[in-house]
């Protein structure tokens, strides 16, 4: 019973993911593109929940949908030039499609190769129903992975300083220099 529902939700969420991500790259308007990307990210968060990674799903909604995509929408509205471009794809259409097709085929080849060796299935363990995902993640994050955690905060600090420096306009540069 549970397995059937899980498979059903996997199909539903993955179809939503693929559908919305294709709409993301085919939308003509950048705002529509951002809204479709939000839908894709929410579907991926649902898949994280299906994988018993509740904390990552929450962080995905909060950071991506609540932070990064709102930043994208603000920038789109700041720089919108008014005119709508008729052509949304670049001039390198054929070579882009060729390279992307090769990329996708190589992924499928790698996955089927690994699947044929039966490497994953032997190590899949039985999933417990109630997980203490957040507790485990927090414990590992603050004990074993504390150095990458601090480096991540340093990366964010550098990004804040760089973004503030880069986005100043001429008038503000005159004031501060």
């Amino acid at each position: 019973m549970l397995k059937g529902i899980e498979v059903l939700f996997f199909y539903l969420l993955s179809l939503l993911c693929i559908f919305f991500s294709m709409l993301t790259i085919s939308a003509r308007n950048a705002v529509h593109s951002a809204l479709f990307l939000i839908s894709t990210l929410i579907s991926v968060a649902g898949l994280f929940l299906l994988l018993h990674a509740e904390f990552v799903a929450g962080v995905q909604i909060l950071v991506y949908v609540g932070g990064v995509l709102v930043l994208f929408l603000f920038v789109i509205m700041l720089v919108s030039s008014g005119q709508t471009t008729r052509r949304i794809f670049t001039n390198q259409f054929a070579i882009g499609v060729a390279v992307a097709t090769l990329l996708g085929l190589s992924f499928f080849a790698a996955i089927s190769q690994v699947q044929a060796t039966n490497y994953f299935r032997a190590r899949e363990a039985k999933q417990e129903v109630v997980t203490k995902n957040t507790e485990k993640v927090g414990l590992q994050l603050y004990t074993q992975a504390v150095l990458p955690f601090e480096i991540a905060s340093l990366v964010l600090l550098v990004a804040i300083v760089a973004a503030v420096r880069l986005a100043r306009d001429r008038k503000q540069e005159k004031i501060f220099n």
């Binding site: 397995k3 700041l78 670049t90 993640v137």
Partner: protein, 100 residues
């Protein structure tokens, strides 16, 4: 339990769609969004492996990837604003020289 390979195939499809967007789109903001899509596909792979091997290290990687994605979005969008102020365009085919 859904097999691991299904998640891997889904994330390969998402990554390839993001790569198509990066290769083909003209609007630089949409290219950034496609990069976010590719990073999210990688996150899905990491969480799937972490869930199937009963280890949380994959999810720790996901947090680092999310931090880098947020930093990249911030710096990249600041660059977009800075380029737009000088060029008045978002088309990547039209901003192909370094000088103003």
């Amino acid at each position: 339990m859904v097999p691991l390979s299904w998640y891997l195939i889904l994330s390969a499809i998402l990554f390839t769609i993001g790569a198509v967007g990066v290769f083909l789109k003209r609007n630089v903001i949409t290219i950034f969004m496609c990069i976010e899509l590719m990073l999210n596909a990688v996150n899905l792979t990491l969480v799937a492996f972490s869930s199937f091997y009963k280890q949380v290290y994959g999810q720790l990687f996901v947090f680092i990837v999310m931090t880098v994605a947020a930093a990249e979005a911030g710096v990249g969008l600041a660059l977009v604003i800075s380029v737009f102020r000088n060029r008045e365009t978002l088309d990547v085919d039209k901003s192909n020289i370094l000088k103003l």
